[in-house]
């Protein structure tokens, strides 16, 4: 039973990471190959705050979010004004930089030995509630004016700009929000695992988060959720296939993109309106989106 609870906790946490990337990549069309860096920053800030400085848990969580957002500002401010590729490539470097920074400050962070003895504070209820809040937040964000503007930026940045959208301001807001969610999730991860190390999230883990969204379909939060839950729970339940699952995931992605670019779930969303439409034979309002 404990094992399955653990699987559920890990899956929920990773689902939160998938959603933070969904905001950035699915909604706004920005790709961060260093998103794992924010998770790592959140985890280490929380871990260090509690073990080295004896701060209470709630304060450590807030601190993790703040530090993660500062990191996002440092990376986002210069790169988001430029072509999207710069953002992508610099976040890739940022991920490596955070790792190098942790190894360099080994006296404080434990370096390659990792950081142990973080209090076990994030149990299933806290993780489940946090993930649920993030799910509702992202699902609703997609329907707001802000979310629609982000989708416009994703589909045609130049056209959005011509319609008077402040592209830079939108991009940086989404990026900071996404970084905040990722570092909050990272802090929960630290409080859940009690042990963290610099290699927790390399660029490959960040790439996987993006890839999962594309399997589900960039227009579907539900798709991102289901694919994320399926992928991460599968990995935890079948540890023997751990390495091969990424090869399978990768081949699946290429097949999906070549033959069904809109993703497995297209733009289908699970919503009360959709459920009602099943009973009343009336088209759901969000289906044509």
């Amino acid at each position: 039973m404990v094992f399955y609870a653990k699987v559920l906790e890990t899956t929920l946490l990773f689902t939160m990471f998938v959603l933070s990337v969904y905001m950035l990549s699915g909604l706004t069309g920005l790709f961060s190959l260093g998103h794992g860096a924010f998770i790592t920053i959140g985890a280490y800030t929380a871990g260090l705050a509690t073990t080295r400085f004896g701060l209470p848990i709630w304060l450590s969580l807030i601190l993790a979010v703040v530090v993660g957002m500062i990191g996002g500002l440092i990376i986002g401010a210069p790169t988001l004004k430029l072509r999207r590729d710069y953002f992508l490539l610099v976040t890739f470097g940022f991920g490596e930089m955070v790792r190098a920074l942790l190894l360099w400050t080994a006296q404080l962070t434990g370096g390659a030995m990792g950081l142990a003895g973080i209090p076990y504070a994030a149990e299933l209820p806290l993780i489940a509630v946090s993930t649920l809040v993030v799910v509702l937040f992202v699902a609703n964000l997609k329907k707001t004016a802000f979310g629609r503007t982000c989708i416009a930026i994703r589909d045609d940045e130049l056209a959005a700009q011509a319609m008077g959208v402040n592209v830079y301001a939108h991009k940086i807001k989404v990026f900071l929000l996404s970084a905040a969610i990722a570092s909050y999730g990272g802090a929960l991860l630290a409080f859940n695992m009690s042990f963290i190390e610099p290699n927790l999230f390399n660029w490959l883990e960040s790439a996987k988060l993006i890839v999962i969204i594309f399997v589900g379909g960039i227009n579907s939060v539900t798709g991102a959720l289901i694919t994320g839950i399926f992928y991460y729970s599968f990995g935890e339940l079948f540890r023997f296939a751990h390495v091969w699952r990424d090869v399978i995931l990768g081949l699946l992605v290429i097949l999906v993109i070549v033959f069904r670019a809109q993703g497995v779930f297209g733009s289908w969303e699970f919503s009360p309106a959709w459920i009602r439409s099943r009973f009343h034979r009336r088209p759901a309002r969000n289906q044509e989106a």
Binding site: F31, V90, A100, L158, A207, F214, V247, G250
Partner: protein, 294 residues
């Protein structure tokens, strides 16, 4: 740092910088034509490193033969990746995003495949030469490093000639400035993009072989592509010449920094330097600003 150590590090750094330059050009040439960040380049580099290891251990102990064969196989893998992964996306006229996602997927599949197969093993290339170093007025010049530098220079020169003087090279340059117009002039875009990936693959083959020779071969060797990407950014995206200069510069600065402040701080300084560079001069060394076109 004494002057002899300084020059020693400089020579080693410039040699490694030559490899970074080849990597930056391989990355940049695809970026120029199709305008996306081709992460699958790192995958082809990794495949080449393993192929080079296999060939030099099991087939031939001749350096030149092994290098040539690895380069050819790199080119073939590049073409294969283009055919299987990028061509369908391009034919369907899908947005650039899908090219990019496919390219990171290829990099991921390659790395995870090697991890699954030989994750626990580290492979070292054989020593190709008996006398591995020259001594010139107190400096020790490794023969491998010197060869790496010379070969990188020759390859880049040959590529420049190809791009400037041949019909296919001109077609690639035309496609780089605008991929929609050349087909109207009777240029076959399929051939041009295929050729671009073959060239990138050949360069990846050389890179993979050299990186395998310099370091040990692990599943993560493809991540070394980060250096090539950094060089491409510093040089100015879209400029191959800028990438070459930046690659050599990066190699030299990196080697000197490692000697001066240690290998743990060096990456931090380099990445911070890039963020600062993008703040003050985003167009890089080459000075060609890159913006999104309609």
């Amino acid at each position: 740092m004494g002057s002899s150590i300084f020059f020693q590090q400089l020579i080693n750094g410039v040699s490694l910088g030559g490899v970074y330059a080849v990597m930056a050009v391989g990355f940049g040439i695809v970026f120029n034509v199709l305008k996306f960040s081709n992460f699958s380049h790192g995958g082809v580099v990794a495949i080449s490193a393993y192929v080079g290891y296999y060939l030099s251990r099991n087939v031939t102990d001749n350096f030149w033969l092994a290098l040539a064969a690895t380069t050819m196989i790199g080119g073939a893998v590049g073409l294969l990746v283009e055919r299987l992964v990028f061509r369908p996306v391009r034919r369907a006229g899908k947005p650039l995003t899908y090219f990019f996602v496919n390219s990171i997927t290829v990099a991921m599949v390659v790395q995870q495949f090697f991890s699954a197969m030989w994750g626990a093993h580290y492979f070292a290339y054989p020593d190709f030469f008996e006398r591995t170093a020259f001594h010139v007025s107190g400096l020790v010049i490794s023969r491998t490093y010197l060869l790496m530098l010379v070969i990188s220079a020759v390859v880049l020169l040959a590529l420049t000639l190809f791009l400037r003087a041949t019909k296919l090279g001109i077609a690639i340059r035309a496609a780089s400035s605008d991929i929609y117009t050349p087909p109207l002039m009777g240029v076959n875009t399929d051939v041009v993009t295929g050729l671009t990936f073959v060239i990138a693959g050949l360069l990846a083959g050389i890179t993979g072989f050299f990186l395998g020779m310099t370091y040990t071969v692990t599943p993560f060797i493809g991540s070394m592509m980060l250096r090539g990407i950094i060089a491409a950014i510093i040089g100015g995206m879209g400029s191959l010449a800028g990438g070459v200069i930046a690659g050599i510069l990066l190699g030299a600065v990196e080697a000197l920094l490692i000697a001066e402040v240690g290998s743990s701080v060096t990456p931090i300084i380099i990445y911070l330097g890039i963020v600062v560079l993008l703040l003050v001069r985003p167009q890089g060394i080459a000075g060609k600003p890159y913006t999104v076109k309609a």
